[in-house]
């Protein structure tokens, strides 16, 4: 096995008495696509900042691309790419001008390399488009290009496709998969489960601790051990109250025109008869599939 791209051992960061990141451990291999999830304030960003060498850990060990985050943060920063939603693209510059500018920041003046990056993110033919005239999806491709111009081996993506539709998101992720196939390692933070589903492994943080890290499929299996039921009942809100109070029900949520029930041991017939008994009309109860959102909600609460 080759050396992991990211290796984190008991990594900890305190701010005064507050433990923002609390003894976390994980490894990421080359070419992996890993999602990093957690509610606001869970320690996600602090972790990423330590891995980028922007913040000194209080305790523990971490290496990124073989470099020590305590001592070699400059080596790390020169070899990683970072793309954020809040990334500044100059609106009154063209695509090519933006790339050339940011390339220059990294000391890249090679025109062929800039052209190659343009092609890679599918912006060839749009070199002279002013970025303010581009759609969100295209701007995101440009941000990705800017993060890739120095050919990093590790790429951090912060909510990369927030606000774009599924088609643009799919196209973006096709690019990410191609990069990963070429050996680039990808770490993604996101609030959107639509996006997390694209990752090979997903980590969930809460209160500074790493609660789980596994493939989406395994997380659904290991965290949501009960059954998921979709209950179509009328009136919905009364149904919610009754099922929430029902013995053995773990969680009930409103899902538009039906209720989503997660339970270890309550069967369909029991819900059906309890609801009917209380005067709720039940249209149907169907078996549902656990989602990453279910996983997230049961870990994050």
């Amino acid at each position: 096995m080759t050396e992991p791209v990211i290796s984190v051992e008991n990594l900890t960061r305190r701010f005064g008495d507050f433990v923002a990141v609390d003894h976390i451990n994980f490894e990421v291999q080359a070419g992996e696509i890993v999602g990093y999830l957690g509610p606001n304030g869970s320690g996600k960003t602090t972790t990423i900042r330590m891995l980028l060498g922007l913040l000194k850990p209080s305790d523990g060990k971490a290496t990124v691309l073989g470099y020590d985050v305590f001592k070699q943060s400059e080596e790390i920063r020169a070899r990683v790419g970072y793309m954020s939603q809040k990334f500044a693209i100059y609106d009154d510059l063209t695509t090519l001008e933006n790339l050339t500018f940011y390339g220059g920041v990294y000391g890249i003046n090679d025109k062929a390399r800039i052209q190659h990056t343009l092609e890679l993110v599918g912006l060839k033919g749009h070199e002279n488009t002013l970025t303010r005239d581009m759609s969100t999806g295209w701007r995101q491709r440009l941000s990705l290009g800017i993060a890739l111009v120095h050919e990093p081996k590790l790429l951090f993506l912060d909510e990369p496709t927030s606000g774009v539709d599924p088609t643009a998101r799919r196209a973006f992720w096709d690019l990410i998969y191609e990069l990963a196939e070429g050996g680039v390692t990808i770490l993604v933070t996101t609030h959107y489960m639509d996006e997390a589903e694209y990752c090979e492994r997903v980590a969930v943080m809460r209160d500074g601790k790493l609660l789980a890290m596994d493939t989406p499929t395994n997380l659904k299996k290991s965290i949501i051990t009960g059954d998921v039921w979709e209950v179509y009942a009328h009136p919905l809100e009364r149904g919610l109250e009754i099922l929430s109070a029902m013995d053995g029900v773990d969680r009930v949520g409103l899902a538009g025109d039906h209720l989503r029930v997660i339970s270890q041991r309550v069967e369909k017939d029991a819900m059906q008869s309890l609801l009917s008994e209380k005067g709720i009309s039940v249209e149907k109860i169907e078996k549902g599939e656990p989602t990453l959102e279910d996983v997230f909600l049961s870990l994050a609460r």
Binding site: I33, L37, G38, P39, N40, Q85, S135, T136, G137, E159, S162, G163, V164, D165, P166, T167, A168, R170, W173, D174, Y177, E181, H191, Y192, M193, D194, E197, Y198, C199, E200, R201, V202, T215, P216, T217, P235, L236, E237, G253, L254, A255, G256, D257, E289, T291, E293, F296, L297, A300, R301
Partner: protein
């Protein structure tokens, strides 16, 4: 059931651009209607036409029985609107912000005060009423936005991409509030129109309209929309996933391939599922890959969205 929104043949041009190009909407009370579509499909323009912030180039809108052109004040008094960039006064407290929104909507203090408390309790901000808006978390700000939109007790709530940038727990809470709002007043209840680029949100709506190039190209319940692709989405697992992906891409009856971490979702041409399920294992084997699982799976709204976006491209 009462019809709360009736829009007929709506058009809105900006110069030569047909931002909204013949939209019809018919929304009943108690309904949550999702408007989905790409950037620039016309979602926000449609929302702005419905609140009366923009005049249609052509077409009629009736809100709660009021003609939006002729009875604009009456129509607007029935609407609550939460825009993408909801603004609040950071130096004012929660309660002061709500008071401000209530007063510009013409509510007297004997009306707004009890109502505000009721709404703050509903959204879970009653304990924080004296906190300054500038000191609220993202989720609390969003709830304050919702509370401000609800203070006039609207019959119609318009939410324009309301959960951009908030975490899943907060989004879940927000949705629970929206669904409660609608289901608690059945019959003469509230309707909600929400625009979103997220399919997990769209799937929580009662009906969804897909917008493309200013038109609603299809409109139905999430389950009926999903049924359009029944049997046409296959899930593949195996190693290495990249070989599986390339093989699937090459197959002429495959319309779309998406990698989802440790698995692939493949959309196939109508009527070709069985054929493909027979030949894919061999194709993958001869390319040097191992297929461990191949099965038809229920389609998602995301699959449907992508299929629709492609089909109307020509």
């Amino acid at each position: 059931m009462t019809v709360l929104v009736q829009a007929t043949n709506l058009h809105r041009n900006f110069g030569n651009v047909h931002a909204v190009d013949g939209v019809d909407l018919n929304i009943k009370s108690g309904e949550i209607y999702g408007l989905v579509g790409s950037d620039g499909a016309g979602k926000t323009t449609t929302m702005r036409l419905l609140v009366g912030a923009l005049l249609p180039t052509e077409g009629e809108i009736t809100i709660c029985g009021y003609d939006l052109r002729k009875q604009v004040e009456l129509a607007r008094s029935t609407i609550g609107y939460l825009s993408q960039r909801f603004s609040m006064y950071e130096d004012l407290t929660i309660l002061e912000n709500i008071r401000f929104f209530a007063e510009i909507r013409g509510l007297s203090s004997s009306e707004w005060l009890p109502r505000s408390m009721e709404i703050l309790e509903f959204v879970g901000l009653d304990k924080f009423k004296d906190r300054r808006a500038g000191q609220l978390s993202g989720g609390m700000k969003q709830k304050l936005g919702l509370a401000s939109a609800l203070v006039t007790r609207p019959r119609l709530l318009l939410l324009d991409e309301p959960t951009t940038g908030v975490d899943p727990v907060t989004r879940q809470d927000f949705w629970q509030l929206v669904i409660k709002l609608v289901s608690s007043r059945e019959g003469d209840g509230v309707s909600v129109i929400i625009s979103t680029p997220y399919m997990d949100e769209a799937s929580r709506c009662h009906r969804v309209g897909f917008m493309k190039k200013g038109k609603i190209i299809i409109e139905d319940t999430p389950s009926n929309l999903r049924a359009r692709l029944t049997g046409r989405v296959l899930e593949l697992r195996g190693n290495p996933i990249n070989i599986l992906r390339h093989v699937a891409h090459e197959d002429e009856d495959v319309e779309d391939v998406a990698a989802f971490g440790d698995k692939l979702h493949v959309r196939v041409r109508e009527g070709k599922s069985d054929l493909i399920m027979q030949r894919l294992p061999d194709e993958i084997k001869s390319a040097g890959g191992v297929l461990t699982e191949l099965r038809a799976i229920p389609s998602t709204l995301e699959d449907v969205f992508i299929a629709l976006s492609e089909s109307n491209n020509d």
